[in-house]
Symmetry: C2
Subunit: 108 residues, 2 copies
Amino acid sequence: MQSTDKWSCGITKVLDTFSGKWRLNIFWIISQNDGIGFNKLRNQVPEITNMMLIRSLNALLLENLISKKLTGSKAPFHSEYHLTDKSRELLPLLLELNDWGNHSLLKP
Amino acid sequence: MQSTDKWSCGITKVLDTFSGKWRLNIFWIISQNDGIGFNKLRNQVPEITNMMLIRSLNALLLENLISKKLTGSKAPFHSEYHLTDKSRELLPLLLELNDWGNHSLLKP
DNA sequence: CAGCATCCACGGAGATACTG
DNA sequence: CAGTATCTCCGTGGATGCTG
């Protein structure tokens, strides 16, 4: 989205980043379970498929909101997901947003 | 989106609320031009059509993020759009989010 | 001027089946 | 176990034309 003002760009990027159906949820779970593996992660997100989990993770990786570490040189492989420094900065803000949302949107 | 944790609900609602292609932009413009009219508003949002402006405004009205005041008893009608008390609380948070987005997403 | 009903196109979500 | 390649389907954005 283009914008004539100075702030929409940043916000819009944030929104886009978390726009997927699962991304925010996944991001949150990783933040609460640093180093969580693929399958554990999938079990924490009800109903999600391999496909959508991968796609969402890749999107978050692209934005450097999470990082991936591979362990195990041979199959079965294993991977661990972590937040990055910059995404950790975001957490308090998200918590505030959540409070506002619960307070002002859920009970209108 | 369902979630097993305590905060996703609020955040998700916020995200959904601003999920449209134009809503955030419109919200911002209204915040900067309290009482702005329909046409002025449309001129501030490049490329938007009547249709999409209306739809976006209605979505924001539904969530009580903006309010509408009608002026003029006969055609041509006129309407003014304002933020609401609760949405005004959101502004500082959005500014912070924007800073973070500009800082952490736009220059990776 | 402000707002709405309708129809269409496109992109992303999702199912399925497959690989290193 | 972790990740990928297609294909389908549906929701949302968008164009057009109409109304109080």
